[in-house]
Symmetry: C2
Subunit: 451 residues, 2 copies
């Protein structure tokens, strides 16, 4: 399917009609929505506080190499795919939005604080090298020539030129601007049918804000759209569930579908570098300090981001910042770059990231055994799940968007079938064990969707 | 002078008439204003951001005993006088405002982290005892029976029952409410002449906000009021300069008057105690951790305040928070109470406190040699200085207010003459050296003011 059959419109019953409804306005949801729009589809993003979830706290490291973890080879492949998409994604977004998402290709330095940290980083390097990734040891002297404010006491430094960064807050703003382009312009644009409805306050053009999704809407055994908290509805050929941790709480999820999302809280700091210390660092510095990761990400505006803890404890609320977490970040960042003590603390933020049991996303259509109908195609019609991106949401945004666009078009890249959102659901598992899960997914005909 | 001759009013020329004009809406300014109002005077507080300066960051410890420093006996006497005034001041304020300033008489525990800290606290105790102050050593076991979350690793704990606390933000709000009482009530109150003027936006009753003072207004060799940034003026029999660090920047200060105020920045944290850790502590815990002071002040609402650094370095702005300062506070607070790591960080704040070369306030009238007129009384008419309260502004508020009320009434307590605002001014110094400064002040007749 190349062109849309459904111009965005709101009818008299406060029902919004669109080709694609995206529940969740973080980086993932916005990225998918923009990709849908670029493919000629009308799209609505549904979120009562877009950009304020995990995306708001994210540091924006695009770091497939540094983020490699043992036994996560599938995820590595997906991260490398995403990384390769970033230059064109950022360029297209800058052109479409007229603004800059802060995409920078400065390298990353992996730094170990002591001998044990050095061993851990060198062990990881052998896995990185086995995967064909470039990670080159520097002498401490060499590292400090590049980054004079690095502590002379560090145990090792490794150059990781392929790991870059983007500013997630700017990214969401850019995606919002790109989604708003060409809407409400009265110039015969195909989105011009859209308007502001009582039911979905804040819907403008192909892009909605300030609406909260309560659940999925079903018609004839397929998902047909979204119910809104204010009583309105969105009717869409494709509904994408991209609201992070809140996905599992939606009403009307396919029976038997288990979305085992758990919150992993992260504290993050933003600091201003006084003029006499600028630039504090030119590379992103990713440290291992007595086994605990910490990173310092320099922004173009003279600020740095220091992050991030990973806490599975909950304080009073999901956005509560841990005093111990802030202490640990400041302590460990100073081990790597002592001048951190001289910075101005601007902000502390905590958000919960949606993690899964295998640290990989829940991305794709839902296998039909979990649903009542459309079993002939192997998948439930009208629904795509895109959550569980844990620490990788920003990096994976272009790849998740590409996956969804393929699914909209009736295609499927078999490499990403391992991320099936049904993989933790017993009824799906029963079916999958009759053959190799990979083969099952690779040989199933994708659903041909008509919007 | 017991009653006012000047009902508060604004004339056609955007001039406000009041008995007392107070420049500066922190705890000191508001405290003096309320005392003036209680004495039957009309009063205007001039501040474009009341309560947002050093008062906003203050922890509110009322701690004359713990705050004793070597060689500051005059200041100790003044702090003890202030401490003795607090119960009646708080009670009167609660009655007048109908709200609670958070005045609590829970004791303070002085805690030393290591052997050197213990020696320092025990040495200080001998001075405190010589001054008749009660500071009683506890065993570590005894201290932990009182405060179970104290670290077992502390070196000593001393009970300081006379050191209490108030909540400075509530205090400012209470003082504002007390000042607003009886105004704009249309009930024949003597303040009813007041109204809202174009020149001084936000003047309500006897209490003004959102106006900025640019300088003093002189008439016939005496100070007669205040010039406002918007072109308006306040005419007052008495003008009190209580705007902290900004005092020295006022235009029209008496020639030769040197107000040697310097900013001492302080970082302070506010944290929420999770339910299972409440109360974190019941006493205020004042620690010395490897020679550096840190305190934990428990509030009734389940939060604690941790402070405060003392930095004479400036970051990018006067309210910039130091990353190193926050780190130090969290580190040292955890040495005393390890569970601090489990708290939720709610807020970090930094403000600059107005310090003087001898750490004592600049409080009183300005000696006449510095001014052109009114030398017969020994003081310049119409002007009182009340700044330089450094770390003691909240504690000293009732005492500073009492000093000002005495000055309004033509009286002077000779004990506080040592805080003369002229003591750092060479021209005043020249005169003062002809006799004992103390005697000079004690034998000079106070100016009899008529408003």
């Amino acid at each position: 399917m190349g062109a849309s059959s459904e111009p965005l419109a709101i009818d008299a019953k406060n029902t919004i009609h669109a080709d694609v409804a995206v529940i969740g306005g973080g980086v993932i949801g916005h990225g998918i929505a923009w990709e849908a729009k670029r493919s000629g589809r009308s799209v609505v993003v549904i979120d009562d506080a877009p950009g304020s979830g995990a995306s708001w706290a994210a540091a924006g490291m695009l770091a497939p190499v540094s983020e490699l973890h043992y036994q996560e080879e599938d995820l590595l492949e997906f991260m490398l795919d995403a990384s390769a998409r970033w230059p064109a994604f950022a360029a297209g977004l800058t052109e479409a939005s007229g603004t800059d998402p802060g995409y920078i290709t400065t390298p990353t330095l992996a730094v170990g604080a002591d001998a044990a940290d050095r061993r851990a980083l060198m062990d990881l390097r052998s896995v990185q090298q086995a995967s064909g990734l470039s990670v080159e040891p520097l002498t401490v002297r060499g590292a400090r020539q590049r980054e004079p404010l690095l502590s002379p006491g560090i145990a090792c430094a490794l150059d990781t030129p392929a790991d870059h960064q983007v500013d997630p807050r700017l990214l969401v703003a850019c995606l919002q601007a790109a989604l708003a382009q060409g809407t409400d312009d009265g110039g015969g644009n195909r989105d011009k049918g859209a308007g502001r409805g009582t039911a979905a306050a804040g819907v403008v053009g192909g892009f909605a804000v300030a609406a909260r999704a309560t659940g999925l809407l079903w018609r004839g055994g397929a998902v047909a759209g979204v119910r809104l908290a204010d009583g309105g509805t969105v009717l869409a050929a494709e509904t994408v569930v991209a609201n992070g941790l809140h996905a599992a709480a939606l009403e009307g999820l396919p029976p038997g579908l288990n979305l085992p999302l758990r919150p992993v809280h992260g504290d993050i700091l933003r600091l201003a570098v006084p003029r006499h210390l600028q630039p504090l660092v030119t590379s992103t510095v990713r440290g291992l300090v007595r086994g605990v990761p910490v990173y310092i990400v320099p922004r173009r505006d003279g600020t740095v981001v220091i992050g991030a803890t990973q806490r599975e404890d909950a304080l009073s609320g999901t956005d509560a910042v841990s005093a111990g977490g802030v202490y640990q970040l400041l302590r460990d960042a100073q081990v790597l770059v002592p001048a951190v003590a001289e910075l101005e603390l601007l902000e502390f933020t905590a958000r919960a990231r949606p993690a899964t049991p295998d640290n990989a996303p829940l991305l794709g259509r839902v296998p039909a055994p979990l649903a009542a109908a459309d079993g002939e195609h192997g998948y439930l019609s009208g629904l795509i799940i895109a959550t569980g991106f844990f620490r990788h949401g920003v990096l994976l945004t272009p790849a998740a968007a590409a996956v969804c666009r393929d699914l909209f078009d009736g295609r499927e890249d078999p490499r990403w079938a391992v991320f099936s959102p049904g993989r933790f659901s017993p009824r799906a598992g029963a079916r999958l064990t009759t053959g190799s899960p990979t083969n099952h997914f690779r040989h199933t005909s994708p659903t041909k969707e008509t919007a």
